[in-house]
Amino acid sequence: MMGEISYLLFQALLAVNCMALVFYGVFFVKQKEKIRTVARLTLLAAGVLQTLYILFRYLQSGYTPITSQHETIVFFAWSVTWAYLSFRWRYTVKNFGTFISLLIFILLLIAAVASRAINPLPPALQSWWLPVHAGIAVISYGFLALAFCGGIMYLLQEHELKSKRFGYFFTRLPSLESLDQLNSHCLATGFVFLTLGIITGSIWARQAWGTYWHWDPKETWSLITWFLYAAQIHQRFSAGWRGKRAATMAIIGFISVLFTLWGVTYLLGGIHSYAQ
């Protein structure tokens, strides 16, 4: 019974996210205010559905659903959605929603393909550190994903402005300054969460494995990611790195995030790779 509801809930949130993407896509083409309102409401509904699904899964399995590949990606999509909605509440960046809803939908599609089976929780993960550490880490990924999307939009728009040949995107993309602001804001927030994620992880590691730092591949790559973002933020404040360089760095940083999340698990393994 619970399983069926959870299954249907996932199908529903996938469908609603798809609708949000379609509405945002139509808005991108037509640029009509009304459609944007509809798209926003749909995405909000999708966010609510995602939350419900995660809660359901929690009730179903009895632990925070953030261990298997499917769960992690849903949680990732959830954090992107809510990071966007929280960001949207403070700033308006033209047509940002279109790019974000595409990213969310891609994530959910991957989640849909992954196995939805509920596995018994390995003993090492039976701790209240699980939701704290993994949750915080994935929330940071949500904000870093926003910076990634903003970076792509920045590069597109910058290309139009520099080449002076204005194509389809020029009128539809926001101003460079607002994209740069987005980059700075999302990186700052994402970086704080990323740092907290690493700190909580290392405390948990001390409890579970006895030492704070193992040089396990996942830890190493998290650290590399952290340094990439730290360097970028430092450079922004000290040397005024902004614009194209900041956008490129946000994209590189996010690739490193994705590698930490998936690449490490599948390519490098290590004791940290539970989600298989």
């Binding site: 002076k164 204005f166 300054e177 005024g240 614009g243």
Partner: protein, 423 residues
């Protein structure tokens, strides 16, 4: 009137480098130069236009007087040796002068064809001249005509659309770079006509501050006052570039004034804050390679034209249409001028007839004993005879079918009726 001629002398951005233009004695203010022009012997009407791209003097003068030399000396002052005058100065007479004035007023002679600023400047110049009673019947008519020609060109061709859309495009681009323009600073390098237009558009968007940098500070101050901004000299350009967000350059400099290697350190000092350069000068003021620097966006006038998608051939087509209107209106004005010489002749003719009637009536009436009614009838008859006699020569004069012989006709009638004094 045939002994008067319309004379236009001037220098503009095409003929004269900025360095020379700025030293012209007549470059600043209107009152004093206009008084000086009034003082020239043989100069009946005068008018002066002074903008950052041109100084032009228009006079109605007696033929044969040494007006041209006097004016050139006044115009150049001591800055240029008399032998060099002809390198810079252009002189148009009569039809050509009228034609040139119309070219200027319709902005066909401007750096940016189609800009509307020049018409305002022309009106302003006319206001000064009219206030000082420098203009007379011919220049009044001519200048008003130049305004209406400009309006006609504006309404019948798309020439104005391109200039307006250029500054509109500049604003749109600025918005794509900066988003909100409200806390941005604008720097104008040089004080061109088009720069003013673009600056006005930007101010309409609520930019924070306008700084005008110009070689001569006085001019910069004039312009800065209009925009409630500040004026600086060109020596301060680099330090100003550190503070500016949008830079509009329109100096008449023959070479590039800002190179890539100049801007590089400035970007460091700005901590890579984006900067938007708009180069509307022809020839260019800014190194095209500036665009390669990151966070630097450079658009020159051709780029802006491309943005608004008005291609060159279309622009040229509109310019040709505008030129046709100018030609047409110049011809019309010429025929008005020609008629002007007919009118006093007719007046003189009628006056002479009236005088003869009056004298003959007096002689006859005092000899005859007539009742008032009869006297009136006789007076009426005399006037009717004279006006019927005059009808044919007057219509002969007014007939415009054979224009070339206009002067001949006027001379003939004047001689036949012995209208010796021509005024």
């Amino acid at each position: 009137m045939p002994s008067d001629m319309i004379l236009l002398l001037g220098v503009n951005h095409k003929t004269t480098p900025l360095a020379v233009r700025e030293q012209l004695a007549m470059g600043n203010g209107y009152e004093q130069p206009l008084h000086a022009l009034q003082g020239i012997a043989g100069c009946k009407e005068c008018y002066l236009l002074s903008t950052c791209n041109r100084v032009e003097i228009l006079v109605v003068a007696q033929e044969g007087a040494q007006v041209e030399t006097h004016i050139s000396r006044l115009l150049f002052g001591d800055s240029v040796a008399p032998e060099q005058y002809q390198d810079y100065l252009y002189i148009y007479r009569n039809d050509a002068a009228v034609h040139h004035l119309f070219m200027v007023s319709t902005s066909l002679d401007s750096m940016i064809v189609g800009e509307a600023q020049i018409l305002g400047q022309l009106k302003e110049a006319y206001r000064h001249a009219a206030e000082l009673k420098c203009t007379g019947p011919i220049l009044n008519k001519l200048l008003h005509k130049s305004f209406s020609v400009a309006k006609r060109v504006r309404s019948e061709t798309l020439i104005g659309a391109s200039a307006v859309s250029i500054s509109y495009a500049a604003v749109e681009l600025a918005k794509k770079i900066f988003g909100n323009l409200q806390n941005k600073n604008v720097l104008l390098i040089g004080a061109g006509e088009m720069a003013e237009l673009a600056a006005e558009h930007l101010i309409g968007q609520g930019v924070r501050k306008v700084v005008v940098a110009n070689r001569t500070l006085a001019r910069a101050m004039d312009l800065a006052k209009r925009f409630n901004g500040t004026a600086v000299s060109l020596d301060e350009l680099f330090s100003q570039l550190e503070l500016a967000d949008i830079v509009i350059s329109s100096t008449g400099a023959p070479n590039i004034i800002l190179h890539k290697q100049d801007v590089k350190p400035i970007m460091r000092a700005r901590r890579n804050e984006p900067i938007f350069f708009i180069d509307i000068a022809v020839p260019r003021d800014l190194d095209p390679e500036l665009n390669d620097l990151s966070n630097v966006y450079l658009y020159d006038i051709d780029d802006l034209h491309n943005v608004v998608e008005i291609n060159k051939s279309e622009r040229d087509k509109e310019a040709i249409k505008a030129l046709r209107i100018v030609d047409e209106e110049s011809l019309k004005f010429q025929s008005w001028l020609d008629n002007l010489s007919v009118v006093p002749t007719i007046t003189a003719l009628r006056k002479k007839a009236d005088e003869i009637c009056q004298i003959e009536l007096e002689r006859t009436l005092c000899r005859l004993q007539l009742s008032p009614d009869e006297q009136k009838a006789i007076e009426k008859m005399a006037l009717a005879i004279s006006s019927r006699l005059l009808h044919d020569p007057v219509s002969f004069l007014k007939n415009t079918s054979c224009k070339e012989q206009h002067d001949v006709k006027v001379e003939m009638i004047r001689a036949a009726f012995d209208l010796a004094d021509k005024n």
